[in-house]
């Protein structure tokens, strides 16, 4: 259940951004989660629902962009699609590909709501 720790880290990032940007509400959180990142999406959403309460993220929608996995085949010496770290190379069938893409777990953007009046006063914060 490391997703809970991941969501706590995400929340810290959001709070820091809220402080820096002077907004008090996040409507949408856009994450990039790679196919080979080892993050379970159902567990991530579950943890988010628990942790987001009572915070700047309370009413935020979690938008998850999944990125495809890729691996380096030592035999073909090229990058091939890799859905699962255990799959063999789709071209030559050799095992043990080295994951090269789809391992990311990243906060891409926040859609936030603030008021025009706050935009000015918020600039000096952080």
């Amino acid at each position: 259940m490391h997703e809970l720790s991941l969501v706590m880290n995400l929340l810290e990032l959001c709070e820091a951004e809220a402080s820096r940007g002077g907004f008090d509400r996040i409507d949408r959180i856009v994450l990039e989660v790679g196919e080979l990142s080892g993050v379970s999406l159902p567990a991530l959403r579950f943890s988010f629902d628990v942790v987001a309460r009572g915070s700047v993220t309370e009413s935020a929608v979690l938008e998850i962009r999944e990125t495809p996995g890729t691996g380096w085949c030592l035999h073909c010496e090229e990058t091939v699609p890799l859905r699962d770290p255990l799959r063999e190379c789709p071209a030559c069938g050799s095992p043990g590909l080295l994951p090269t893409g789809g391992t990311e777990f990243r906060l891409c953007e926040l859609v936030v709501r603030d008021r025009r009046t706050l935009e000015k006063s918020g600039k000096g914060v952080g």
């Binding site: 880290n9 255990l86 936030v112 009046t117």
Partner: protein, 279 residues
Amino acid sequence: MCVECGCGAPGHGVGGERRRGNVLPHHHQDHHEGEGHEGSGPGAFLPLPEEPEVNRTIRIGQDILEKNNRIARDNRDFFREHGLFVLNLLSAPGSGKTTLLERTISALGTTCPMAVIEGDQETSRDADRIRRLGVQAVQINTGAGCHLDAHQVAHAAGDLELFPGTVLVIENIGNLVCPALFDLGETARVVLFSVTEGEDKPLKYPRIFRGADLTLLTKSDLLPHLDFDRTRAESSLRGVNPRGEIIALSSRTGEGFGLWLSWLLAHREKAGSLPQARA
């Protein structure tokens, strides 16, 4: 060594107080009062808002584990600068991590100074076992936590007296899933896989085995009593980690221990952690 993690106030999100400071209602009240607002008695709540709410998008592009990774990088720098060889020891519960450490400490004796950070959900039993051998140990209890993170390790390392050339072993929480994701700043990762666990363990938990610099096949003295197929186990491992090394050993009989100790001392030397100034 924990320089900038803000651990003086753990869990206090930087935006917290400002967010709860009722900034918006105050702001509006001032605004409307100045205009002689109609229709609301003294102290009544004013309808929100005439100021339009504005949505905007902030691009961030930050790795969510960045905080852990940053502290792990600091740890790694600290360990390197202080001439320490640091192992992150990982396995399922009961694969023999603490027993391996006990035997290793006894075998190395005074030839190689050691220190241990023990991670468990509860109790200081493992740290007590290590201290009984005259080696410094710090226990981290994670409570509900399922893994150690770099921040905890930074603090634990700060509680130890560490000298150049010391092998610092971080015994992670017994768990084959979560600890794989958290870099602690270690020099090398060692994963234990006991022969009672089934040959396909690496296929079921590929992530942790893929990151191993060395996999120890432990409890090898039990092999005559089991149907465990060592060749199949090693090919499962190779499937997920073609480059890592494998050593079979028994902490009970000492079989294979020579190879493990040689690996440890060779890598300690390679990491440049031997004391520099020797007469």
